[in-house]
């Protein structure tokens, strides 16, 4: 039993740290994980991507995934090649503040997610998932991603509400983990605490609040990973 | 061979010169404060001229210091010699400066 997620975004959004926290949390929970990171010379703004594979045992996967069950999308810039790798029945968890419009543009569906007044709403606890977005064919014009579920989380808005605008990635990560059940929120928080270097220790509390808020922003277990990949 | 001394004749030491290691650079000649080194007319086994010592060595070691080919041992006499330090006829004739 093995599940994959490709995380994509631009440098500075915390994509690499999120990928690492996810993989470490999975290992802490007794699974095996493989993480392949891809980033260039720039620290900010350039392409950043990571692949995480989590499995029960005996993991020796390719470090570049031929396909993926899920995607974690912080920014639209490098999303298209990831979309092409999504398998039917998978799930996309995306940063609605930046990505929703792009996702919609891909197949021309005119959902009005961008422009919603997400900021200022009581987002935590809002049922963003479970409305009619999930199951919409937002991306599937080439067939590769048809049949994928979408979980759109206004990660940056939520992070801003929390007073932690840098922690948007952790909001989305908390949401991804909660929606899929790949790892528990507590494990994610513990992994994040291990990973943040001493010179960034001041961000730990905000990151933790972001993970928790992200988890609360979606319906827990709405897209259960192990059920999906077993099936 | 005359033993007439024409120069200052207090001699405080002497040198042993490994003439066959000398490459004839002449650096010791002007380096010698009492000017008691002169170049030979004869050539050594390598074809170089080499320094000869006259009376009046002070054992100052300047020749030793400047020599790139390490040909000088320097000895200081316990008692200086007044008059010629020559211990017999010279073995070599110095070069004629003319």
């Amino acid at each position: 039993m093995q599940a994959e997620v490709i995380l994509t975004g631009i440098g500075g959004q915390g994509v690499q740290l999120c990928a690492k926290a996810l993989a470490m949390a999975a290992v802490a929970e007794g699974r095996e994980a493989l993480l392949s990171s891809h980033y260039g010379g720039e620290m900010r703004g350039g392409q950043t991507e990571a692949s995480v594979v989590v499995a029960d045992a005996g993991l020796r996967s390719l470090p570049i995934l031929p396909s993926t069950w899920s995607a974690f999308v912080m920014h639209p810039a490098h999303w298209a090649p990831v979309a092409a790798k999504l398998r039917p029945g998978g799930v996309v968890v995306a940063n609605a503040d930046l990505v929703a419009g792009e996702l919609l543009a891909l197949d021309g569906v005119g959902n009005d997610l961008v422009g919603n007044d997400l900021v200022g709403n009581d987002l935590v606890g809002n049922d963003l998932v479970g409305n009619d977005l999930v199951g919409n064919d937002l991306v599937g014009d080439d067939g590769a991603t048809s049949g994928c579920a979408r979980v759109l989380v206004a990660a940056e808005s939520i992070a801003g509400e929390l007073g932690a605008p840098m922690a948007a990635g952790f909001v989305l990560l908390g949401a991804y983990a909660s929606a899929t059940g790949m790892v528990g929120t507590a494990s994610l928080v513990a992994a994040m605490r291990d990973l943040v270097p001493p010179y960034r220790a001041q961000h730990v509390e905000a990151n933790e609040r972001a993970i928790v808020a992200g988890a609360a922003a979606v319906a827990p277990g709405s897209h259960p990973v192990w059920t999906a990949v077993t099936a | 061979m005359s033993s007439t001394v024409t120069r200052s004749t207090v001699t405080r030491g002497t040198v042993v010169i490994d003439r066959d290691r000398c490459k004839g650079c002449e650096l010791c000649i002007p380096a010698c404060p009492p000017s008691v080194l002169v170049m030979s007319a004869e050539r050594n086994s390598r074809g170089y001229r080499f320094p000869l010592l006259l009376d009046g060595c002070t054992a100052c070691q300047a020749c030793h210091a400047v020599c790139p080919d390490f040909v000088f041992d320097v000895y200081r006499f316990d008692e200086p010699i007044i008059g010629s330090a020559g211990r017999g006829p010279a073995a070599d004739q110095p070069e004629d400066p003319a």
Binding site: V27, A33, S37, Q47, L59, R60, L62, P63, I64, P66 | -
Partner: protein
């Protein structure tokens, strides 16, 4: 120690420390940079030294000095930086100073650089190309051992995927057997005793204790490299029994090729794969035997470059079967990793096309 999730660079760093590496010097250059950072953090913890060198040239020369003084030492970089280091690697090979070079290459285009020397003189470097992080850990310890055994620089040909992939690995100190004493190493304690040591180009020795001189020294080195070629070649095979089509690949391309082999075997194709684990010495005999065992209709070479290893494959196969390239140049926009060609689907397409062109015997 149970397997723990480690980045490849961290795992290699841990393996180097476990192998006794106590001196490291490098100049940051992706994707080697992470290894430098890990060594900078780890070595002081074990009483070692890591130098953030001012250039690759300075880094490798610092390592040469540390190794000459008896330390287990290593440096690293990727293509362009390795190019700057080649002069010193050649010097170390000719002066018989052992250290390890971690070449975290940006792709597979540096096969020639890794296997043909690139410095001056008649020398070779033992070069191991791990397929993944776990193997990189094994290779790291082996390379320090081989360096000391043969008094020669050795090279790990890793790449982006080795350096940046996190994987569950175990790093344990391995006993690889006894090694000769480093009685040649300089410690400065023998001055004036008549037994001082010199490490000298062309093994000239001291004036009163002459070395063998360039002719004898270089002939002995040539014999040494011949011996290494005869004994240290390593390779791996995957489903080569009865294979009619054999794919040869190296390093991190190999798992992709093996994946394709499994897929095509499931579809009924009699196909297998062969991987040189040592790029130098190239496992010529093993590859030749595999091809000769038949029934091999063709040898397909998959490498993500314009065609470099294929030269060695052709020399090894020596006309027993057609040798054809199915790889090619493929670099992604960042220049950091192999582009679209390094995918199971792309390899599968090319293998299937090649099978159609040269049917099974």
């Amino acid at each position: 120690m149970p397997a723990s999730l480690m980045q490849g660079s961290a795992a290699v760093a841990e393996a180097a420390v476990a192998a006794g590496c106590r001196f490291f010097a490098g100049y940051p250059m992706l994707p080697f940079t992470d290894l430098l950072e890990h060594m900078a953090r780890r070595l002081p913890e074990v009483g070692g030294v890591c130098m953030n060198a001012e250039s690759e040239i300075e880094g490798v020369n610092m390592v040469l000095g540390a190794a000459a003084a008896g330390a287990r030492a290593a440096t690293g970089s990727c293509g362009q930086g390795i190019a700057l280091m080649q002069e010193a690697v050649a010097e170390a090979a000719l002066n018989e100073v052992p250290f390890v070079v971690f070449n975290m290459a940006r792709g597979q285009q540096d096969y020639f650089q890794a296997t043909r020397g690139g410095g001056w003189g008649d020398y070779r470097t033992i070069t191991l190309a791990p397929a993944d992080v776990g193997e990189a850990v094994e290779h790291t310890q082996l390379l320090f051992h081989l360096a000391d055994r043969y008094r020669a620089p050795t090279v790990l040909y890793g790449d982006y995927l080795v350096a940046h992939t996190h994987m569950g690995v175990e790093v344990e100190q391995r006993d690889l057997g006894p090694l000769p004493d480093k009685d040649w190493a300089l410690d400065g304690t023998r001055g004036g005793t008549g037994r001082s040591r010199q490490i000298w180009t062309w093994a000239m020795g001291r004036t009163d204790a002459p070395g063998p001189g360039p002719d004898a020294h270089w002939r002995r080195l040539a014999d040494k490299f011949d011996g290494i070629a005869a004994t240290e070649a390593r390779s791996a095979q995957h489903r080569t029994d009865d294979a009619e089509h054999l794919i040869v690949s190296f390093g991190t391309s190999a798992p992709f090729v093996d994946h394709v082999v499994d897929e095509l075997r499931a579809d009924g194709h009699r196909i297998g794969s062969f991987r040189p684990v040592t790029l130098w010495p190239f496992p010529e005999a093993a590859l030749a035997a595999t091809v000769a065992a038949g029934p091999c209709a063709q040898v397909l070479v998959f490498e993500v470059n314009a065609g470099q290893m294929i030269d060695d494959v052709r020399l090894a196969v020596a006309g027993r079967a057609p040798v054809r390239p199915i790889g090619g140049v493929s670099i992604d926009g960042s220049g950091m990793r192999q582009g679209a060609l390094l995918s199971a689907a792309a390899i599968r397409d090319r293998v299937l096309a090649a099978i159609e062109e040269v049917p099974s015997p």
